[in-house]
């Protein structure tokens, strides 16, 4: 019983991290149909910027904020300079964003070196909560809390604010949205920046948990894609459920069927796609 409870908790908290990473990617997909191979790089760079901020100031909250904001600027620049001209060209998007991913990977190596680092977390977030025989690391609880807060903010913004309505309108039908006077370019840029911000936020948060190290970008990228594919592109609900499913599948797969652990992650995804090519909650 203890085994199941703690594995469930592990899966959920890993899913929470994946939600931070993939929530933005899903919105970007939904709105612009952009396959963004740079998404893992935002995660990596966010972690590195956060690391530098911690080293300079010692402030974890500042690291989270600055890490996320800096990378949103990177996202905006990449979008404006290249991606906005490539709408509807999957091949162009994949290759351009892959090019950026390689460049960012190498720049990170030049700037931060190749040693593995850990982002120091505040004392209040370290240690574990003990319930009977079970240990729940506080930091994992914190990740779940961050994910819940971010999901709530996103949901409230999308459903109840003017800009949220404009985003939804653009996701549903960009032509129509442009017709009624929405600045689709601006909205797209905002969403792209938001995606980059969330990925970087995930990077800083993950830095206190799995560390910051070269290679993390391409390691995490398939997970982000899987979440988006399973949940369906452009759906917040889909991203949330997709993250939880992937977190749990990954965790239980590794614990129960170690030899097939990636198979247990990707095969259900293929099965879902066979039934619903647009994912569980996606719209074609």
């Amino acid at each position: 019983m203890d085994f199941w409870i703690s594995q469930l908790f592990n899966g959920v908290s890993y899913g929470a991290l994946l939600f931070l990473l993939a929530g933005g990617l899903s919105l970007i997909f939904g709105m612009m149909r952009i396959v963004n191979m740079t998404h893992g790089s935002y995660y990596l760079l966010g972690g590195y910027v956060g690391l530098t901020v911690i080293w300079r100031t010692g402030s974890f909250p500042l690291a989270v904020v600055l890490g996320a904001l800096t990378i949103s600027l990177v996202g905006i620049a990449e979008w404006n300079a290249f991606l906005k001209r490539l709408s509807g060209q999957e091949l162009g998007q994949v290759l351009t964003t892959m090019g950026f991913a390689l460049i960012f990977q190498d720049l990170a190596l030049v700037l931060w070196g190749g040693d593995p680092y850990t982002i120091a977390v505040p004392a209040a977030l370290s240690g574990s909560l003990v319930v009977g025989q079970l240990y729940f690391p506080v930091y994992r609880i914190f990740i779940v809390a961050v994910a819940v807060v971010v999901a709530l903010i996103l949901w409230l913004t999308l459903e109840w604010t003017r800009i949220g309505a404009m985003i939804r309108a653009t996701v549903d039908d960009p032509e129509m949205a442009r017709g009624v006077g929405i600045n689709v370019y601006l909205i797209s840029m905002v969403v792209f920046a938001l995606g980059a911000t969330l990925a970087a936020l995930a990077g800083v948060v993950a830095g206190g948990f799995v560390g910051v190290y070269p290679g993390a970008d391409f390691e995490i990228l398939p997970y982000a894609f899987v979440v988006v594919i399973v949940g369906g592109m452009g759906s917040l609900k889909g991203a949330l459920i997709g993250s939880l499913m992937v977190g749990l599948l990954d965790n239980f797969g590794k614990a129960l069927f170690p030899e097939l652990s990636y198979f247990t992650l990707f095969a259900p995804m293929a099965a879902i796609l066979a039934v619903r090519p647009t994912g569980l909650f996606g719209r074609a």
């Binding site: 994949v94 351009t96 460049i103 190749g114 799995v210 070269p214 652990s261 066979a274």
Partner: protein, 730 residues
């Protein structure tokens, strides 16, 4: 600038190109020949993807899967069952065909971005199996020692030139077959569907079936490329089919010109050239590759051949931008190809192969730091001769390491090699090193069998064997620490199996019991799924972590509430100086054995640590120490032969006889199997002046890789692996 090409030009250019490819071998260096061989094989793969991208009009992000299926068919059948070429070829192509015909059912339900994502997912399924289905695929160790094929012909394909012609024949065969297909009515229908699916449907064509057949053909030809690739490299690893490879194939097709067949072949050649040649000149080659990705889309969205076609037809004038970028690219490749021909005799040349980019780049840096430091301290000379060090980036990839090995030996004519980090690369290089008869020092690669059951004559290990520190430590844990029941958790590849296996053997022989063995994949950073399985009724946990995993494990171990209950001990890399700076107080008390500790209290080592810190701003890792000592090793041997390192046999003999009484790690000499006999230090992590150090608590002097066993008896047991020794008490 406007340039118009005469209409016959493409045909003539093609003819000249093929003629050049046919007569090239005797004229080019073997390094260039190797690149041409690789390009031919990748060209097959790129052309097969072109069927999907160029003729069906869908971008697939999972095409490397077919390369992998073909390659693993060869790897498994040829090494385990001794299957001949034609059998592996048939199985590889059929398997790829079968998988493509299943994947096609899934993928072709979608189009556009969705098709891309589904193919990505399916590609990941195959990659996941290669990576984790260890009993079948050997996981991250990869499958090595795939023999070159024997076709019953008078030529041996183990040599470069015959194999080049084999690859070229494969390329031409694929070209002819695919060209016939795309020019047939079937191929024309595909183009029609690409242009307008609805029109073709209205005209009564079975659109889905055409696309499906095209998809399956592409998979089959991709499998064919995989078969050639495995035979060429001599080994197969999960990196052959990861996401980066899939994107690279896409780039080849796009760069050359999709929908042209010959374009993707050209693109393959350019990218293979770029990756291998540019990295000779700069370790920042990734920046250039990244720029090529972006530049292709910005400047030549139709690809090189696509653009050429438009110009010959006079549809478009050649833009200045395109000419300039093509010229730059040609210049780069040309420069690179012409480059490494200089330098004949004079200095002693040391070729270093290690990862300078990617996840293990810092280990590569630690190694090159150690080498430079020794040379700087000794006036840049070895045995009185000037020294030239040529560092090549293996990118952490076996096939790149082999290509660079060839470059260093044949083009740079180095006298001795030092290098590499990963065991599977070590195994892949050893036969080549023997073939070249050039001494190579392995300061890091620890795989037991390199100096036990599969020794290579020309490889001199200056580091340690994986299980060497584990043997005394197993005894120490049972006798000195008094543990009776221990749980092990290790990284799931050969190095992990050997470290854990060695520990288990001596621990159990001294009365202990291993009660549970857990394995986590390479590069695991989240240990939650494993920690919650650890049996709480043990006395301690023995963890074997490396690098990134080591930097995360102790903290998560503590947070899971385990540290307070079960003391944490481990293999040397779990707490080595490479990871200590990224660990916190949670690591304090951790015990592990290794050949080195930066805290070793000898004058030689204290000086070494102080100098290294002054120079590089960090505490030396064992990677630095073994590379530093390796350089001195070369010096001692070179002195013994009076600087005549050109006499390789004598030089090798001298290398094997070197004894260093005062290395930073202590006295070192080789046993008759070529592995160092040296001290093993039992170390305990302690905090001093705010830093973590591995305080030495016990020294086992002059430990051999065979510990207290007779070598012959020891070698009768199989090499340690996941299930040997068996877990009797689990």
């Amino acid at each position: 600038m406007r340039v118009a090409l005469p209409p016959g030009a493409p045909r003539i250019a093609l003819g000249v190109a093929f003629a050049a490819l046919l007569v090239a071998p005797p004229l080019v260096s073997s390094f260039l020949l190797a690149l041409l061989t690789q390009a031919a094989i990748y060209a097959v793969l790129a052309m097969s993807l072109d069927i999907i991208l160029g003729y069906i009009g869908l971008a697939s992000l999972g095409h490397a899967a077919y390369l992998g299926l073909g390659a693993y068919s060869v790897g498994i059948l040829a090494t385990r069952h001794g299957a001949p070429f034609w059998v592996t070829l048939a199985v590889g192509v059929l398997l790829a065909t079968a998988v493509a015909s299943i994947f096609g059912l899934f993928a072709l339900r979608a189009s556009g971005v969705y098709f891309l994502m589904i193919t990505l997912a399916l590609g990941m399924v195959v990659w996941g199996l290669a990576h984790r289905w260890v009993t079948m695929t050997q996981g991250d160790n990869g499958i090595s020692s795939v023999p070159r094929p024997d076709l019953g012909l008078p030529w041996s394909f183990s040599r470069g030139i015959p194999f080049y012609y084999l690859a070229l024949a494969g390329f031409l065969l694929a070209l002819v077959v695919l060209r016939t297909i795309v020019r047939s009515p079937f191929g024309q229908t595909l183009v029609g569907i690409r242009e307008s699916e609805s029109r073709m449907r209205t005209l009564g064509y079975h659109v889905w079936l055409h696309k499906y057949l095209g998809f399956v053909i592409a998979g089959a030809v991709g499998g064919f490329a995989g078969v050639l690739w495995a035979y060429y490299n001599g080994f197969v690893s999960p990196a052959d089919l990861d996401l980066a490879t899939s994107t690279e194939i896409l780039l080849m097709v796009a760069l050359g010109g999709r929908g042209t067949l010959i374009g993707p072949a050209l693109g393959a050649a350019l990218i293979v050239g770029l990756k291998n040649l540019v990295s000779v000149y700069t370790h920042r080659w990734l920046l250039i590759l990244g720029a090529v990705y972006i530049g292709t889309i910005v400047y030549a969205p139709e690809g090189i051949v696509g653009a050429l076609r438009q110009w010959t037809k006079g549809e478009r004038a050649m833009g200045k931008k395109v000419i300039v970028s093509l010229a730059v690219l040609a210049l780069l490749v040309g420069l690179a190809a012409a480059g490494p021909a200089w330098a004949q005799k004079g200095p002693i040349k040391i070729g270093v192969i290690t990862a300078m980019t990617g996840g293990a780049a810092q280990i590569g840096k630690d190694m090159t730091n150690g080498i430079s430091m020794w040379l700087d301290e000794n006036g840049g000379t070895i045995a009185g001769r000037k020294v030239e060090v040529i560092v090549e980036d293996s990118q952490g990839q076996p096939n790149v390491a082999l290509t660079k090995l060839q470059k260093l030996v044949e083009s740079d004519r180095v006298h001795v090699l030092v290098g590499e980090i990963f065991a599977h690369i070590g195994y892949a290089m050893a036969p080549k090193v023997d073939e070249y008869k050039i001494p190579m020092l392995y300061p890091v690669i620890a795989a037991d069998d390199l100096t036990q059951r599969k020794p290579a004559k020309w490889v001199v290990r200056t580091g340690w064997a994986s299980s060497q520190p584990s043997h005394p430590f197993g005894e120490y844990a049972a006798k000195n620490l008094g543990y009776k029941r221990i749980v092990t958790i290790g990284i799931d590849y050969a190095f992990g199996w050997e470290v854990v296996g060695g520990f288990q053997k001596t621990f159990e022989e001294n009365g202990g019991q291993i009660v549970q063995k857990l394995w986590a994949p390479l590069n695991t950073t989240d240990f939650a799924p494993y920690l919650s399985q650890i049996r709480r009724d043990a006395d301690a946990v023995f963890a074997l972590m490396v690098s990134i995993s080591a930097s995360r494990f102790p903290r998560q171990y503590q947070d899971a509430g385990l540290k307070a209950k079960l003391p944490l001990i481990g293999g040397g890399t779990t707490f080595d100086e490479f990871v200590l700076p990224s660990l916190g107080d949670e690591a304090i008390g951790g015990m592990s054995p290794l050949i080195y500790s930066a805290a070793l209290d000898t004058p030689v080592n204290k000086k070494f640590v102080a100098e290294y810190r002054k120079k590089y701003g960090k505490v030396p890792s064992y990677f630095s120490e073994t590379s530093y000592t390796s350089t001195r090793w070369i010096n001692e041997a070179a002195k013994a032969v009076g600087g005549d390192v050109e006499n390789r046999e004598k030089f090798l003999e001298a290398l094997r006889k070197v004894e260093i009484p005062d290395a930073p790690r202590g006295p070192v000499k080789l046993d008759s199997y070529g592995n160092p006999v040296q001290n093993i230090y039992v170390r305990k992590v302690e905090k001093k002046d705010g830093e973590l150090w591995n305080t030495v608590v016990h020294t086992y002097p002059a430990v051999s890789q065979f510990w207290k066993y007779k070598p012959d008896d020891f070698l009768k047991q199989p090499v340690y692996d996941r299930n040997f020794p068996a877990c009797k008490h689990c």
